[in-house]
């Protein structure tokens, strides 16, 4: 079963009825996908539809619980990434999986065996081999150059060259055009077409519908881990695809549709926020009592934008006006002083100090409120305990006591601890970045309730979520981001899952 399959062109890779369960999540629920030699297959689906898991199954990174993979009718087990390479599969991941400190040539032949003489690498031969495949791709990259000096587009080409050097017969590209310019995208498509014409099977995963129509021959749509549509690209229309991606049934169990009073005060105005290559000229306003959603696909720049507003990163340009007063925000401290707080996406690395107790986590941003005596910068544990105990009860954080280290808490409870530390900070603007990510249904409800409560107190809430139904249910208004820009705005009854998906996927 190891990588000894002959390097001849494969005809079909058939994935049948793949099921993959993770604790509490059904990532794949009977997925069927067929890739054929000499054809480009577009693979579509919302964030969380199961595309990444499917790729991991094909790459041998995870093993499916049920289902089969058949290559030219022969059932095959892809036991490891090494076996996947041996079977002729090559992957170009969205996050580049190359070795930046090695040269282009070393990356092209990485893991394929370097030409050696007496145990020493024959550099000239190695470079010649790399030059050969790079020429086939019609890119001018010096094989001797270190990879770290290359652009993202060039690095993707090196990854494809690696696949060619491995004599791969199926390429799987995950969002290959992310952060590429139009010219680079065109060149990539040209390369893919010529590979296809040589008989290679290509799986092209993308959120960009226009590209799907430009480059693919067939298209498969996944939703909630299932394959819901497969067909020739020429025979479907964009609206049909969008309908397949969203699903016809839209669970719009509307939680709230509050209308803001006309005179609601403007809490936050953001103008011309920019960070070259990441965020372009983003501007919006947030009013008191408003729950503002921020929709977009992964990589659209939502997290990056709120990190600029909350001082976690520094913007290259832009104005932030809080309650009519322009504030210079160059650090999280500045943002806190202006009344803006961020609950970051990754609570383990950015939100909580896991070695700290619940009490110490909760009081960290506002230590001066818990002093033994006002001028003395020494915390009173009694006061800290009382305040954190109070918040633990209010937020229903499940811990035996507030001295429990945060690392022993479940994900949902950690999220609540991160929330608790900002709740009493007196901030006006709360930014929640994927607050329900990885927590159970009950926990999600509690997070929605909290955000609603904050809004009802007259604060402003910005809510980032990749689950659009959440935004539909919770928000007064939703902004859509695409490629680092704010491109659309929906308010009140115009907010719907279909509208958000259509907006996110259009080009």
């Amino acid at each position: 079963m190891s990588g000894t399959v002959s390097a001849g062109r494969l005809e079909r890779v058939e994935v049948r009825g793949i099921v993959k369960r993770y604790p509490g999540v059904l990532a794949l629920d009977g997925t069927d996908v067929t890739a054929t030699g000499g054809s480009i297959l577009g693979l579509l689906g919302k964030n969380g539809a199961g595309k990444s898991t499917l790729i991991k199954v094909l790459a041998g990174v995870v093993q499916p619980d049920e289902g089969t993979i058949a290559i030219d009718g022969v059932e095959t087990v892809v036991g490891s990434p090494h076996e996947a390479t041996g079977l002729g599969f090559s992957f170009v991941h969205q996050e580049l999986a190359d070795v930046p400190n090695l040269s282009v040539a070393e990356n092209v032949s990485l893991g394929l065996g370097y030409p050696t003489t007496g145990g020493l690498v024959k550099t000239r031969e190695l470079r010649r081999r790399a030059r050969g495949v790079l020429e086939r791709l019609e890119v001018e990259i010096d094989p001797a150059a270190p990879l770290s000096g290359l652009s993202i587009a060039e690095r993707r080409m090196v990854m494809i060259a690696h696949g060619l050097a491995a004599n791969a017969s199926m390429f799987v590209l995950d969002e290959p055009t992310a952060s590429l310019t139009d010219g680079e995208i065109e060149h990539l498509h040209k390369v893919l077409r010529s590979l296809r014409d040589e008989g290679v099977a290509i799986v092209y995963v993308s959120h960009r519908l226009d590209e799907i129509f430009t480059v693919t021959d067939r298209v498969t749509v996944m939703r909630d881990g299932e394959t819901v549509f497969s067909g020739a690209t020429a025979e479907v229309t964009k609206p049909q695809l969008i309908e397949q991606i969203t699903g016809s049934h839209i669970p719009t169990e509307l939680r709230r549709r509050r209308v803001l009073p006309d005179g609601a005060e403007e809490l936050l105005r953001v103008e011309g926020m920019s960070l070259p290559g990441v965020i372009e000229d983003a501007g919006f306003t947030l009013r008191a009592g408003e729950l503002l959603g921020l929709a977009g696909l992964v990589g659209a720049g939502r997290t990056e934008l709120v990190r600029l507003i909350s001082g976690a990163d520094r913007a290259a340009a832009g104005r932030i006006v809080v309650r009519g007063e322009e504030r210079r925000i160059r650090s999280p401290r500045d943002a806190m002083a202006a009344g803006i707080v961020l609950l970051p996406e990754d609570r383990k690395t950015q939100g909580a100090v896991l070695s700290f107790s619940v009490r110490k986590n909760i009081t960290l941003p506002a230590m001066s409120r818990f002093r033994l005596a006002a001028p003395l910068p020494m915390p009173s544990r009694r006061q800290e305990r009382a305040a954190s105990q109070d918040l633990v009860e209010r937020l229903k954080i499940k811990v035996p006591h507030v001295e429990q280290p945060a690392r022993l808490l479940s994900g949902g409870n950690q999220q609540k601890v991160v929330l608790a530390k900002w709740l009493e900070s007196g901030a006006d603007v709360f930014i929640f970045d994927e607050p329900t990510h990885g927590i159970d249904v009950e926990g999600k409800e509690e997070v929605y309730d909290l955000m609603t409560e904050l809004a009802e107190q007259g604060r402003g809430v910005i809510f980032i979520s990749s689950e659009f139904t959440e935004l539909v249910g919770a928000c007064n208004r939703v902004l859509v981001m695409r490629d680092g820009r704010l491109v659309d705005e929906f308010e009140g009854d115009r907010i719907s899952d279909a509208a958000l998906v259509a907006s996110c996927y259009s080009d």
Binding site: S310, A312, S331, P332, R333, M336, L342, P344, T349, Q350, G351, A352, V353, L354, S355, F356, S357, K360, L364, P365, M367, S368, R371, P377, M378, P379, P400, H401, E403, Q404, P405, R407, L408, K421
Partner: protein, 342 residues
Amino acid sequence: MSDNVPISTAELERRPTVGGVVDEPATSSERWTGIASKYGLLIAFLITIVVFSLARPSAFPTGRNVESILTNAAPAMIIAVGLTVVLVMQDFDLSFGGMIGLASGASTAFMVKYGWPWQLALVAALGFGLLAGVLNGYMIAYLGGSSFIITLAMGTVLTGVEFAFTSQNTVYDGIAPGFAQIASGQFLGLSNQIWIAAVIALLIWVLLDRSEIGRYMYAIGGNSEAARLSGVRVLPLRVLGFVIVGLAAAVVGILIVSQSSSYAPNGGTPYLLPAFAAAFLGAAVFRPGEFNLLGTVVGVLFLGVIQTGLTMLNLQTFVINLVQGGILVVAVLVSRLGARSR
């Protein structure tokens, strides 16, 4: 490559520990490993004292010997508690050996070579400590250098400056009596060195365990990005850590010259290992897996007791080395094993 050592040590310190799990129902064996891991070092310390007292009843458990152990341990105590501050923030400082030497050499040169009043020489030595700390901190926190490499290099630079002052000559004459009095004088029947070490340890204990700054420092060590996003001024606090080490090293350098009324080149290097050993031993007691001030104090005293006790037993040097090293390893491992069982 340059980051490997501090990071791997940091990883070691981040392992799940017993100290935090208080309320979970524990079986009696778990409770014993809990106690072993939390107080193992303290128990080993007490046993060592008892063993030496039984072996040398007339010499070891005496007031005079206690004072001698404390006096000898004072310089190591000062530098180890200073070092604990940077370790808490997951930084390293290997430059203090060189800084101790520079403070010795500079204060001697100012008094002997340039004829400054000893008070001024003292202030100048402390000034060097401050400066070295600021430089270390700036290069590491603001410019992003690896604390391991930067301080290693800084230690060499400081030793170079020391030699520029003294040309590596040993100096026996010309140390001002007032200066000598700092370390050799007494207060309330105890050596000034004991008092100085006690006051510095107390100040740093208040800083780390009782002040907001200390809480922030532990937050930086636990998760510096979360601390930054919570509004903690991460960079200045990291600089402060290096400044504290620099000042502590300067104090030690001054005490060494003062104690002996003489200067010998490169006097700081012998303190490197004991200071780290004490801090790491200390991270194995009270709050296992976390550097803490009381633990460091116990670590320093433990090392001092072993040193004195073994010397009193008139053992051969190689036996002293074996026993000293062996006790350290066992003490740390007992705590580690207990901590890992969770």
